[in-house]
């Protein structure tokens, strides 16, 4: 049996819908990076979908109530504060990784995305069932199979989840305070809906 192996560059990412919101980010004063990795401005970055909940329609993915996990990827100041830190995210804003501290985003597995028709840049929501706080986010990172509840620092902060740096055997690690739960929903086919900063929270 012959194995034909060929490596080619086949495709790329042209333009991500998340870029639509960059002008809003500028309006909010949220530039690239913060002096303090944990100085998170809730709701900064993507804001909410123009037209609110009626524009995004019914969720095509619902995590159910699950334990919140922090994804610090894309936050340049997250290095050294999280052993899992990665400078890149699957999604990009203006050709850059999506800064966890600046943008409310959620992480989904590739299977979850395929099975629910979700693409990078689609709108999502994060709800803290303990407080009732919700925030709009976008799907901007692809994670390992079965992962649910993994959200950016900005999304966590927006729903009242505090973050703390703890010392572990592997070094400092930024984790949610307590064992907070969240519900993550995502809305297929909504990536082209532009951001509207009057729509910061899903329940506002």
């Amino acid at each position: 049996m012959r194995i034909g192996l060929k490596i080619v560059i086949a495709f790329s990412v042209l333009a991500l819908p998340a870029c639509d919101d960059e002008e809003h980010a500028d309006l909010l004063g949220g530039g690239q990076g913060y002096s303090d990795a944990n100085n998170i401005v809730a709701g900064d970055g993507f804001c909410g979908p123009q037209g609110g909940s009626s524009a995004v329609g019914q969720a095509s993915f619902n995590s159910g109530v699950t334990t919140a996990k922090l994804d610090m990827d894309g936050n340049p100041l997250g290095q050294g504060q999280d052993p899992d830190w990665n400078p890149e995210t699957s999604g990009q804003v203006n050709g850059q990784a999506v800064n966890s501290a600046k943008y409310a985003y959620v992480v989904m597995s590739i299977q979850q995305m395929n099975a629910s028709g979700i693409s990078l840049g689609d709108w999502a929501s994060v709800t803290n069932p303990a407080t009732g706080q919700s925030v709009y986010a976008r799907v901007e990172d692809k994670g390992p199979p079965g992962g649910t509840g993994e959200i950016s620092q900005a999304a966590a902060s927006a729903v009242g989840i505090q973050q703390v740096v703890v010392q572990t055997k592997e070094g400092p690690s930024t984790v949610p305070v307590g064992n907070p739960s969240v519900v993550v929903q995502a809305f297929a086919g909504t990536s082209s809906i532009q951001g509207d900063c009057t729509q910061l929270a899903t329940n506002s």
Binding site: M1, R2, I3, G4, L5, K6, I7, V8, I9, A10, F11, S12, V13, L14, L16, S60, K69, P83, D84, N86, E88, T89, S90, G91, Q92, V107, S109, I110, Q111, Q112, M113, N114, A115, S116, G117, S119, L120, G121, D141, K142, G143, P144, P145, G146, G147, T168, K169, E170, S173, A188
Partner: protein, 181 residues
């Protein structure tokens, strides 16, 4: 067996992005076409199925045709995770997907073993065992830096699958015989 790896990089030239790459079936009657989406096409290039709607963020895509050209498997790998979709043919082509739940038992066991949560996972194909069974190898990385290398067999089990929102017939692509490598 025909296996090809398609590498994608977000930094490559836009001119390259519009190029399609076909991975032809051994009998030459079909191909998997990798663009911004991954499609199954016939010999004339007409799309039969969209296997993956959006490859944004993928670092590597692997395509493997079975020797009989009746099954094809596509493995997507992003920086932190992978996913597997497939298509199979009887009178018509069907698309299916491997569910994350397949690996849930392994993930739970190894998270307990490593005292850390799963933070990254990657998979690759390692050869057809039969026309409807393909070997898979994977590596999981846990939050404490621990790594677990494993293998399993991915089996096509055509049947009355549940159609999900992505259009995949769920329950027709099953992982079995998980083992540590």
């Amino acid at each position: 067996m025909k296996t090809q790896l398609l590498y994608a990089a977000t930094s490559i030239l836009l001119a390259v992005a519009s190029q399609a790459k076909d991975v032809r079936s051994p009998d030459g009657r079909f191909a998997v076409r990798a663009e911004a989406t991954i499609s199954l096409v016939d010999a004339s290039g007409t799309s039969i199925l969209t296997l993956v709607r959006d490859t944004s963020g993928d670092a590597k895509v692997e395509v493997a045709w079975s020797p009989d050209s009746h099954h094809v498997v596509v493995v997507e790998n992003s920086v932190r995770g992978s996913g597997i979709v497939a298509a199979w043919k009887d009178e018509a082509w069907h698309k299916t997907i491997e569910l994350d739940q397949d690996q849930a038992g392994v993930v739970q066991a190894e998270q307990a073993q490593f005292h850390g949560r799963l933070v990254a996972e990657h998979r690759k194909l390692s050869g057809w065992i039969s026309p409807s069974e393909v070997a898979v190898k994977g590596e999981m990385t846990f939050s404490n830096g621990g790594k677990y290398t494993y293998g399993y067999t991915l089996v096509f089990r055509p049947g009355p699958g549940r159609l999900d929102r992505g259009g995949y017939e769920e329950g027709e692509l099953i992982g079995k015989d998980y083992r540590s490598l």
